[in-house]
């Protein structure tokens, strides 16, 4: 797969992760408005599981879309949402497995999205020393190294 394919896949997976997270948040809210897993206090702000699902879902959608413009920023946004979700799950020892099941799809999709962004970046950025490589069809025509190899 080339850089463009990885980038597009990363964007689709990021948006999908966000849509699934928001969907799950709305679904859980319709079934248990008082929140599964109680509240999570960050800097004194109480965040319900449903609200966090929606917020992180939104972040993942934004991240997925940003991947189309910037692999680094988009990938980090999606991965950051995944990390926040995992921190929420980890801190809820009593309902951890319930939360794992709730968050499983957004976390896996988000992780895959950030990995795709990384693979796109690998294919995009011309590594140092690549100017000496024999040119093959489809490879960048004039790669420019930004620095010399280490002495």
């Amino acid at each position: 797969m080339n850089a463009r394919s990885w980038r597009n896949l990363g964007a689709v997976l990021g948006v999908a992760a966000g849509v699934v997270a928001i969907g799950l948040g709305l679904y859980i809210h319709s079934r248990h408005p008082w929140a599964a897993g109680g509240v999570w206090r960050i800097a004194g702000v109480a965040v319900s599981v449903q609200r966090l699902l929606a917020a992180m879902g939104l972040l993942m959608i934004v991240g997925g879309l940003v991947v189309l413009r910037s692999r680094t920023a988009g990938g980090i946004l999606v991965a950051a949402a995944v990390v926040i979700a995992l921190c929420l799950i980890y801190t809820h020892a009593n309902v951890r497995m319930t939360l794992v099941r709730v968050w499983a799809a957004p976390v896996v999709l988000g992780l895959l999205s950030s990995m795709c962004a990384g693979l796109a970046l690998e294919a995009e950025i011309v590594p140092v020393g690549a100017e000496a490589l024999p040119k093959s069809p489809g490879s960048p025509t004039s790669p420019v190294a930004d620095e010399a190899p280490p002495a």
Binding site: A79, A80, V100, L111, A117, P127, G129, A130, P134
Partner: protein
Amino acid sequence: MSDVGKLLTDPGLRRVRMRIFTAVVVVFTLVCSGSFGMEDVVSSSGPGFTILMIVLLPFVWSVPMALVASELGSAIPEGGGLFRWVRRGLGEYWSFQTGWWWTLSLYVDSAVYITLALGYIQSKWHFSDDWRWVFGIGLVAFFTFINIRGLDITGKALIVIQAIVMVPFVALVIVGFAKGTGNPISPFLPPGTSIFAATNLGLAIMMWMYSGYESMSTLAAEVENPQRLIPRAIMIAVPIVIVTYALTTMAAIMAAGKGNWVNMVSDASAGGAAVDFVRAGQIVGGAFLLWAMFASAIASNLGLYAGYLASGSRPSYQLSRDRLYPRFMGKAHKRWGTPWVAILIMGLVDAILVKGSFTTLIVIDVFLLMFSYIPIFIAAIVLRVREPHMPRPFRVPMPTWLLAIYVCFPIAIAVYALFSNGSDYLVGGLVGVVSGPIAYLIFKRIYKGTADNALEGSIVTPEGEPTTFAAEVEAQA
């Protein structure tokens, strides 16, 4: 040194002549370093099943890794070891992830060993936590200096340490078998426990006890003739480790006394009926063996620390030299030829971690290590298919299809362990895993990476062309 060996020399790093005995001791230290920790398996899985796992598990868990590490280590004897193998097989992205997960795991892991050693010392001489930290920093500083001083000095230190570790174990085996009254294989399982439950309880620890055969590969750029030395050392160490675990555990069960295996725990400092290797030594060997085993326990953890400080710091150095990590990490000591910044930073992190309780960090440890193993196995198969004619001084005596089936066993065990260790391990470990993709996005954007043909220490590209590095070294020669 052979021509290939000369061409593989990394600028800045000094290659040391290491005897096969020293290399075996290094591998033994990184994998085994005594049997401390096996007590928990005995009490949770039963004596008979524990011994069965000690004998059988290696063939589906550690032997595949030992074989793969030997084959890849002989074919690609480059600094960073496993990180470069995965790069050759799966590309830069997955090699970075493997190097990152493995290194992160060892950063935490090495601090655990210092903490365990301090725990043993503190249990005998009840000093304050402040003094504990001072001792901890002293130990970290000592081993950091030894590592910076040179791999040959580290190797000699490990020989001395392993002598302190293993002589008491040999005595325990002799006296335990002669005087012990416990039955080392009965009961097979704890009463009322199914094989499934017993496996779940003991598997995670046993996997841990049999991990580490890939670790010495990271030192390949600093020993002479690594493509021959490291695979031989691994192959010699494999049976030694199995025999060590089997005999010492049987001796401890016998020394504990009839039916007392239920009280076996890895830390019996609280007293009572609890039995660990140190207490087992006291039961059959009196005060002398008690103190010898006590010294062995401390030395075991210190040996593991010294070994993992050496092995765990090298991927950071190599990642830096490959322009995937901050550049200052890639500095080699001008006089001693060691990656001193990478070693020093690992020592500093350990010195900080020793201060506090880091239970939360430990949970990511096993998970990250398992995650880093999977790409190594996949890379071995990919390279067999993609580069069938690559010179492999050591080749696993199996056709590729059979090797592919064989490595499915450890991969399946690793995946099973990821989900069977508990939700805290799963979730905490995933946080560590996600850090890999984030780190790559940042470092790749900043440092760009290095093309395959310009990698230091690599002489041939995956396409079979000589690298720029090879041409430079040849010109210098």
